[in-house]
Amino acid sequence: MDLLPTPAQMEIASLAADFFGNELPISVIRERRDAPVVVDRRIWSESAELGLFGLGIAEELGGAGCELAEETLLFRELGRRVVPGPFLPTVLGARVAALAGQHETASAILSGKATVGLALRRGPEGFDAATTPSTLDGRFQLLDAADSRYVLLVDPAGAALVETAALTDVRSEPAIDPGIRLAEARADAVPILAWVGTQEEPIRLRALVLSAAISVGIAEATRDMSTEHAKVRVQFGRPIGVNQAIKHACADMAVRAEAALSQVLFAAICVQDGRADAEFQALAAKSIAGRFAVENASATIQVHGGMGYTFEHDSHLFLKRAHVLEHLLGEPADHLARLVAQPAAQ
């Protein structure tokens, strides 16, 4: 048992982190606030060349052959830098296409030629776990689907990939987070291009862990921002971090970040190994990391005072992304309801 990443695993994460730092710094979100998409095509292609979209896909299916553990560390870096762009649905969409045997679709996604947006279902879940659905119906909220070729829907029964162009009544909406693009749409008997059921592959648990990993990065980054500010900001002739009101707020942020990170790594291994309590651990990870990211990001605005309330400062970008993540892949209350219904952990 060793919960911590190996040096080789950390190296993959740090290569990705360097790329994000150079090509997709946080300032991009502000600069492209009014652009139709946040991440331009060139950078998306470079991300594909780096192999970021197929890290956890088997080599024979066109991926890098790493495990969920490595992908989890990659997604943590996305959170630490609040990186914009539809990484989550693209990585999951490529997997769905590859596992469903849609190799052309998979390779279009993996090569960066096609992006995948995320569809959040409005209303109750629609798929029947017992059958393989062929069409998609209903109303959806779309994330980062503005120029995407596909959108991905992750339901408890499985995950479906459809063509964005087949959706109707697409209407873009202003988003609380300037780092995402939001729209409303409906689907009337839209053909499903690729489907992976929960019985074949725990795709939803994978999605929960990766989304939680982004939240972990946010909880860690906001802890670090607050701590740094508490060290350098001087008031009454002393750094504000000497005051317990600030010091204890930072300490609580450290505990939340550590708890979230530990649980997400734990859950990643459980899902990867197919442990009996994988769903329990993934739901716990999503619940803990989602909530703690919001709490840390809220606290960082307070620690930064007036500056933290400005658009120019980064704090709000972390807070807004943390809130976005809370509502992906099911609502927090839904995750808790599922968690309490699970058998006890192993």
Binding site: K231, V242, Q244, A251, V255, L261, F266, L339
Partner: protein, 390 residues
């Protein structure tokens, strides 16, 4: 990143589980007095005879000298078996014993360590004073040197099990001119020495282990000083580096099984609306689920801490994060139990009895105070984990 235990470790877990099943005490632990002392010592003796005493103690001191992961397995199984904590034996096994190993003379070690391991003696702690709590270095209990003796006068407080203890790890001020952290000595005190008076302090849960201890010209041989005269502060601090993240595991496993018991209870009991089972109440169901998630992450945090400690000799300050998180969760969990019971919670049931939710709820107020308050833990995290200015 892996959660795999080796074949040997899996077999070890089986051994532990079997041994605990066959040898754990079956009687309910007496709540107080000599009967409790005998219960705790007898259990320690059983562990000694079975070859399980001092699982984290080095072999040269008679312990098992188990690896970190074996310790983790032991404590997980110990917690899972629903056994009581080591309670009255705690200070000897987890505090005074390790301090003696690190800093005592060969004679002191040879005399005391086997007695602790064999379950022959109870140790208590004499650190806190009425005016030296979180600020331990403010302690004022004096010891003047007369010939080859120390003569101690003063008062200690919050000493658990002092009425039952044979020995005490006692911090006294031997040099009144020294600065706060200097001039303190760490002394082995025989609790049967004339001049010692112990008074019980009843706790909010009706517990009787808490005491205050008064010293009126108590004569202690100078040779009972450990680690050198006036070096007591560094001796006291040396204990902290002994625990490498496993000893707390049994508490966590106990807390996890408490949450599972509460989920079962919520299915049986009628909820706040008086009609449906408590689990059908959204608020209660969410609080139970949140408790499950938090207890799971506490365990993951412990695994992360142990993983980190496997790669280094000295434990880092992250242990304070586990302690702080545990305290927060434990208080929430027992409050939830209390709320689940509705008006039935008003009936007092001691935490040592089955269904002792109200006793446990009251006891939970101690977890964020004892062993360093949550505020002190936040200071440690701020200063030593995050490097914030003091």
């Amino acid at each position: 990143m892996d959660l795999d235990f080796s074949k040997e470790q899996v077999e070890f877990r089986e051994q532990v589980r079997t041994w605990l099943e066959e040898n754990a005490p079956r009687e309910i632990r007496p709540e107080m007095g000599p009967a409790m002392r005998e219960y705790d010592l007898a259990w320690q003796r059983t562990q000694w005879e079975g070859g399980w005493a001092g699982i984290s103690w080095p072999q040269e001191y008679g312990g098992r000298g188990l690896s970190l992961l074996q310790q983790l397995i032991w404590f997980e199984e110990y917690g899972r078996a629903g056994l009581p904590g080591i309670d009255a034996c705690f200070v000897g096994l987890s505090h005074a014993g390790p301090t003696l190993m690190t800093r005592a003379s060969e004679e002191q070690k040879a005399y005391h360590l086997p007695r602790i391991l064999r379950g022959e003696v109870i140790w208590c702690q004499g650190f806190s004073e009425p005016d030296a709590g979180s600020d331990l270095a403010a302690l004022r209990t004096r010891a003047r040197i007369e010939g080859d003796e120390l003569v101690v006068s003063g008062q200690k407080i919050w000493t658990s099990f002092a009425t039952l203890a044979d020995w005490q790890e006692l911090l006294v001020r031997t040099d009144p001119e020294g600065s706060r952290h200097h001039g303190i000595s760490w002394v082995i005190c025989d609790m049967h020495t004339p001049g010692i008076e112990v008074r019980g302090i009843e706790t909010i849960e009706g517990g009787a282990e808490f005491c205050e201890v008064f010293y009126d010209d108590v004569r202690i041989p100078l040779e009972n000083v450990v680690g050198g005269l006036n070096n007591g502060w560094s001796v006291a601090m040396s204990t902290l580096s002994f625990e490498r993240g496993t000893a707390f595991t049994a508490n966590q496993v106990r807390l996890a099984s408490t949450v599972e018991k509460l989920i079962d209870l919520a299915k049986e009991r009628t909820g706040p609306d008086g009609r449906r089972p408590a689990i059908a109440d959204d608020e209660i169901a969410r609080r139970l689920a949140t408790a499950r998630a938090e207890v799971a992450s506490l365990r993951a945090m412990t695994y992360a801490g142990i993983s980190r400690n496997m790669h280094r000799d000295q434990p880092g300050p992250e242990g304070s994060m586990v302690k702080l998180f545990y305290s927060d969760i434990a208080k929430k969990v027992y409050r939830l139990a209390f709320d689940l019971l509705g008006a039935d919670a008003l009936r007092f049931v001691s935490r040592w009895e089955p269904g002792g939710w109200s006793g446990n709820y009251l006891y939970s107020y101690s977890v964020s105070i004892g062993g360093g308050t949550s505020e002190v833990q936040r200071n440690i995290i701020g200063d030593r984990v995050l490097g914030l200015p003091r």
